[in-house]
Amino acid sequence: MSAANSPVYDHTIGFQSNQGRGFNNPVDLALNSRGILYVLNRGGPETPVRLPYKRVTICTADEEYLGEFGTGGTGNGEFWWPSSLAFDSAGRLYIVDEALQRVSIYDAEGGYLDHWGEGGSRDGQLNRPSSIAFDQDDNLYLADSLNHRVQKFTKEGRFLGKWGEPGDGPGQFNMPWGIALASDGTVYVADWRNDRIQKFTISGEFLGQFGESGDGEGQLSRPAGLAVDSTGRVYVADWGNERVQIFGPAGDFLASLRGDSAPSRWAQDYFNANPDEARARAESNLEPDLGVGVATRSERRREESANIEKLFWGPTSVRLDGQGHIYVVDSLRHRVQIYRWAD
């Protein structure tokens, strides 16, 4: 694959931290109009001592730490299983929670403003809502995962419409995860347990699909978050295959990324403070030959990621900044790997 057809690795943001500078099992990020990153940390498990791991970290792409807000809990503004976040045109931040079945709204500093949503399967009710995206009119599209559908709301939470039902036919879903809108209004949905991406018009008419189960080029295993750029290229966090795949507007395979991370700046700070650990690391082989011994290829990919630090491990989301940068949320490695198009 030539470099022109594939993005190149740029740098990594992140460091595992339970609070403060760094991330803890980030699952999504959003960029505001000034390019500031809001990284959503899911953390876990849900024990009292670990609830503070759940938070939003605010930083720049150059790893300037700007602060954090939020914590684990069930009160107003708190998170339990936060899964996705997005800004509206006024700069307010919306965070959806799969456990609390609600969308919470914050100002740019993280001040809690309001929330809406309730559990259930009727129109407007939610069952493990996993991902949200706004259209140009500030309508919010939501992957309503265990209801196997997409729902459309005003940003205040008024129900506007829905499509989808359980199944694997066109327009049907099996636990959809990610949702993204192209600039022309096309809605892309990662149909998680059907291992495919489906395309719809803004009103929910089925336009097409691509992807099938597998780990070859263009095949998918439990796709999670996704993004679409201005040229119509689709970036999919191929979660079960521990990679990111890039498709053309027609669903044609363009490139695959497996992860290339070098230590972040925050990581370098740690090694500077712990030179004995840095020296021992420098003497180590961090890309060992793992041989064989696990049963399936997906298990082998997962084990590779557990052993080789630079690889993606549990990538859950892809975001774009409109400047040619691709942000991959590398959940189990507590970091974001950034790629860019060479051109």
Partner: protein, 471 residues
């Protein structure tokens, strides 16, 4: 469901797995006992079908159970497996080997390394003992746990070699101190990759910068003692594989493993004749554990009434078995970590045993503190009418469509809980409680709205009995 064979099948499933629901018992009874044993040892279904139907869902929603870096997340994940597995014996044998080859998170600071070891137990636990021991000797968690990374040609460390003989395969009295030294020398050079970096990270519990890294086995021939050794009466330039071969051919190892299997799967009190039968099968099959287990499950001594409810349930067996019965935690559910905590409070931190000797079992599981935890935990599950398994038991009783006396209701509940055998005194107390509000009315069109909650309360009381603590 008749009492005659329910009791035996329920006994098998308590020992070979984590119990069975009434619906599962019905299905198993239609297969028959011998076919069930065959299916336990060689689970039917596609070869690539995993033990769990929804593992992807667990990893999606429990991001912490996807990486398995934290001890409580890893404990919760294993409990989820025990409750929902389609291969109960695979999970049970893993728990058995985990207790025998006890390796603890507490020293390693690396939960996934211990989980990886339990995966080896799932993969190899019913195969040949030689293969299992070899995998264990190459297991990074074991190498770290018993310091074999510090076992060098010029400076042997005897920790792993000693425990291999004493605790893992033969038992004291079957080898000499010289054998221990020779065994240790045979395993020199068996280490993990990047030992210095990994040791520093483990010693300071470093998760930085980007989370923990898995460990890998590495053999360093330049650090191995290639000279002759005398081990269990044989002489040669033995390496680790040779030592394991010699161990596995010894009658002492056969008797040792047979005794451990008997203690875990049959009864807390040893039966020399039964252990002799198992030991013979071990030797006949060159240490094939699955064959030994087949003999065990089909034996008269296993089917005997004498050994039913003759073992105290371990905390893992108690919480997983009760949750399975209650139908709890069948999919992603954050409260499963609380279940793991309950097992911890009862004295069994799975993946973190107290020492290389594992847990002290039998009546030592129960003291005044842990008994309260056991009763509260089981009672919380079975007293909750919203749990699908509890609801299913009530629905079965309703299905009779008749009024049941307190005596009949107690008998029916005991049968549905796997023909639980209780003393006359316990039975009298249960009937007395059940009789406080008279008969249980289940007639169609005249269902007593209190019957369901009363059954749930009765189930709650049954699992609080002394007898329910026994497997």
């Amino acid at each position: 469901m008749t009492q005659t064979n329910v009791g035996l099948m329920a006994h098998l499933m308590r020992r070979a797995g984590f119990g069975a629901t009434p619906d599962e018992l019905d299905a198993l009874l239609s297969c028959g006992y011998e076919q069930t044993v065959v299916d336990l040892l060689s689970p039917p279904g596609p070869a690539d079908q995993g033990a769990l139907a929804d593992e992807d869902i667990i990893r999606r929603y429990h991001v912490d159970q996807n990486s398995l870096m934290l001890i409580e997340s890893s404990q919760a994940y294993w409990l989820y497996r025990m409750i929902n597995t389609r291969r109960p014996l695979e999970e049970k044998i893993a728990l058995f080997w985990h207790g025998l080859f006890a390796t603890a998170y507490g020293k390693l600071n690396h939960a996934k390394a211990v989980v990886n070891q339990t995966n080896t137990f799932r993969r190899c636990g019913l195969g040949h003992f030689r293969t299992l021991l070899l995998e264990l000797a190459r297991d990074p968690a074991m190498i770290f746990w018993l310091d074999n990374k510090d076992n060098h040609k010029d400076a042997p460390n005897e920790n792993f070699g000693r425990e291999l003989l004493e605790l893992f395969s033969m038992g004291i009295g079957n080898y000499t101190e010289a054998d221990v030294k020779a065994c240790a020398r045979a395993f020199t050079g068996w280490t993990i990759a990047n030992p210095k970096y990994m040791s520093i990270r483990a010693s300071r519990d470093s998760i930085w910068p980007h989370g923990r890294l898995d460990w890998q086995f590495e053999y360093l021939p330049q650090d191995h003692d290639h000279s002759d050794k005398t081990f269990l009466g044989r002489i040669g330039p033995f390496n680790g594989e040779d030592v394991i071969d010699i161990i596995c051919q010894s009658p002492a190892a056969a008797k040792f493993i047979a005794g451990k299997l008997y203690n875990f799967f049959v009864a807390d009190v040893a039966d020399p004749q039964a252990i002799h039968e198992l030991s013979d099968e071990f030797l006949r099959t060159q240490g094939h554990i699955g064959s030994v287990m087949r003999v065990l499950f089909l034996s008269d001594f296993f089917k005997s009434e004498q050994v039913r409810f003759a073992r105290v349930k371990s905390p893992a067996e108690l919480v997983a078995g009760t949750a399975r019965l209650a139908g709890s935690h069948q999919t992603a559910d954050w409260s499963i970590v609380d279940l793991a905590m309950e097992a911890n409070y009862m004295g069994q931190e799975i993946l973190n045993p107290p020492s290389v000797e594992g847990w002290h079992t039998g009546t030592e599981w129960v003291d005044t503190g842990t008994l309260v935890e056991r009763v509260n935990s089981a009672g919380k599950e079975m007293g909750d009418l919203t749990r699908p398994g509890v609801r299913a038991i009530v629905d079965r009783l309703k299905g009779s469509g008749k009024t049941m006396s307190p005596e009949e209701t107690v008998e029916a509940c005991l049968l549905l809980l796997g023909d639980l055998r209780v003393s006359q005194s316990t039975r009298d107390h249960l009937v007395e409680y059940a009789a406080a509000q008279g008969d249980f009315r289940f007639e169609t069109g005249a269902i007593d709205s209190c019957a369901g909650p009363r059954v749930a309360e009765l189930l709650q009381l049954i699992v609080a009995t002394r007898e329910y603590q026994l497997a």
